[in-house]
């Protein structure tokens, strides 16, 4: 398991290799890449700014990964999330899930991304060509 919050994400290639090395039982890796969308309604997005509770956020993500192991039987996972400013088109989050077979990885991936968005103390400010506002889960 690896969880990292940083101004710079590691390369996806290196993360996939790292995950593969954790077990020879791995038969597939499902990957989610979150990127900065360039539009919000009819507004142009200029950039996003992320901040996180630097000690609590990794702990919550680790708990989510442990839950996923127990529920879906995944082998391992890596989650990386940006903090600080991010420009349009840049990657802001990687979630990689390794499992024996694809089905549990696909199920776990959607659930894990949803939980990261809703349960991890990370905040996002969206700056568009018209305004700036904090994006918060309902």
């Amino acid at each position: 398991m690896k969880v990292k919050l940083s101004e710079k994400l590691d390369s996806l290639d290196s993360l996939i290799s790292e995950l593969k090395r954790t077990s020879d039982e791995i038969g597939g890796i499902a990957v989610f890449v979150g990127a900065v969308r360039g539009t919000h309604g009819d507004e142009r997005v200029v950039r996003l700014e992320y901040e996180a509770h630097e000690t609590l956020a990794p702990k919550v993500i680790e708990k989510i990964i442990e839950d996923s192991r127990a529920k879906h039987g995944i082998i391992d996972a890596i989650v990386e999330h940006r903090v600080g400013p991010a420009s349009v088109g840049e990657d802001v989050m990687y979630v990689l899930i390794a499992s024996k077979r694809r089905r549990e990885a696909f199920h776990a991936l959607e659930e894990m991304v949803d939980r990261i968005k809703n349960e991890v103390p990370i905040w996002k400010k969206e700056i568009t060509d018209k305004e700036a506002y904090w994006v918060e889960s309902p």
Binding site: P121, W123, W134, E136
Partner: protein, 105 residues
């Protein structure tokens, strides 16, 4: 007179224009006292916005539960990194964090 440290994140950090600050509070002061009295008093220019941001209000008045405690919006209060509540009695050296609704990804 315990001294406690308060950390703010996201829209609250921006509203108060500070990341962390310390408060010396009266003995037996609670988190509710901190949020309703000490912080608004120090940040008087944004005190109304502060209250309306973290508490549920109607026409500027904070809504109360049946037991009289104020009703928080979807905000989380941590003491020493663990979830706490408005009635918690502050102790010397406590670190309080006020977390707005999350929005990562």
């Amino acid at each position: 007179m315990p001294t406690v440290k308060v950390r703010y994140f996201g829209r609250l950090r921006e509203l108060l224009d500070v990341k962390t600050e310390e408060y010396k509070v009266k003995d037996s002061a609670s988190i509710a006292d901190l949020l309703l009295e000490y912080i608004p008093e120090r940040h008087g220019e944004v005190s109304e916005t502060w209250k309306e941001t973290i508490f549920r209000t109607v026409k500027g008045e904070i809504l109360l539960k049946k037991d009289g405690t104020p009703l928080l919006r979807n905000y989380l209060i941590l003491v020493g990194g663990k979830s706490s509540h408005l009635g918690y009695e502050l102790k010397e050296g406590d670190e309080i964090a006020v977390l707005p609704p999350f929005g990562g990804g």
